[in-house]
Amino acid sequence: MHRLPHHSQLNDEELLQQYRNNADNIWLGHLLQRHTLLLLGIAMKYLADKDAAADAVQQIFLKTLSHLPDEPIANFKGWLYILMRNHCLQQLRDKTRFAEDTLLEQLSADDGTDLERLQQMEITLQEMQDALQTLVLEQRNCLDAFYLQKKSYTDIMVATGFSFAQVKSYIQNGKRNLKIILSKNLKHPQP
């Protein structure tokens, strides 16, 4: 007799396939349970309230259990992330009544910089240092501490007094801005 594999041996997409083949919610349950913490964290980031976040996660569970699309999902975690994030943004929108569509775009938009091309180009140390100097102080300090001094987030938080979210944001935004500045310089080299 064909024996079903244990859920821990399967990746997300294989679990989803098992669910589709056997039409048994238990597989979907294993899959969702794998991402509970991820969903809770995303909901907390957007809603900043533990009860609202827990409610949002439960709603996403129910939505997935009852309305999982029939089309194949290549990246389940990514799909779940977008579902959770859009749910939270919708809640915020309902709450504040003034939705800014650009918020969604801003949150999801990539800066469009061709990272690979940037990596292949010869960026000199001097160019990088010059670009770094043009960043705002907080971004520059966080990038310098994390990448050049190899400090941990906790070390940076202690040294600067920034919160975890601020350190993360300064590093992310600093990286993005650095890419934009260097891309511009590559397109229009300064004499």
Binding site: G29, L37, L38, I42, K50, F61, K168, K175
Partner: protein
């Protein structure tokens, strides 16, 4: 290019596959320096895990664990309810078979009655 090259490792934008165990270990401070560095480098890219870790930092360890357990328990409850509901539902296959059987009996009854009437 010195340590500046660390800012963009080749293909690092796609390397955000942190597991729940890694996230939990990071939040509880159980990771080695090397493991912690991997998580924090992933945080510097935009990713689901990066957003999640930021949100989870807003909860205490007790709150996080309590909510995690509660949500998983609720999920299991919903699943059991759905499975029970499905088990309690009469099988479609038997309904179809019953209808076919009734139709067959009706046709047989008609044929029998037809021949009986003819012979009389």
């Amino acid at each position: 290019m010195s340590d500046f090259s660390q800012i963009w490792n080749p293909g690092d934008e796609g390397k955000n596959l942190l597991t729940e165990a890694q996230m939990q270990g990071y939040l509880e401070g159980r990771l080695s320096d090397e493991e912690r560095r991997i998580v924090e480098e992933s945080l510097s890219n935009e990713s689901p895990e990066s957003d999640a870790l930021e949100g989870l930092q807003l909860l205490t360890e007790e709150e996080r664990n309590a909510l995690h357990l509660k949500l998983n328990a609720e999920l299991r409850k919903s699943l059991n309810k759905k499975r029970k509901h499905r088990r309690d539902m009469p099988s479609q296959r038997w309904t179809v078979l019953a209808i076919l059987l009734i139709l067959l009996l009706a046709v047989l009854a008609y044929v029998v009655l037809f021949f009986v009437k003819k012979s009389v």
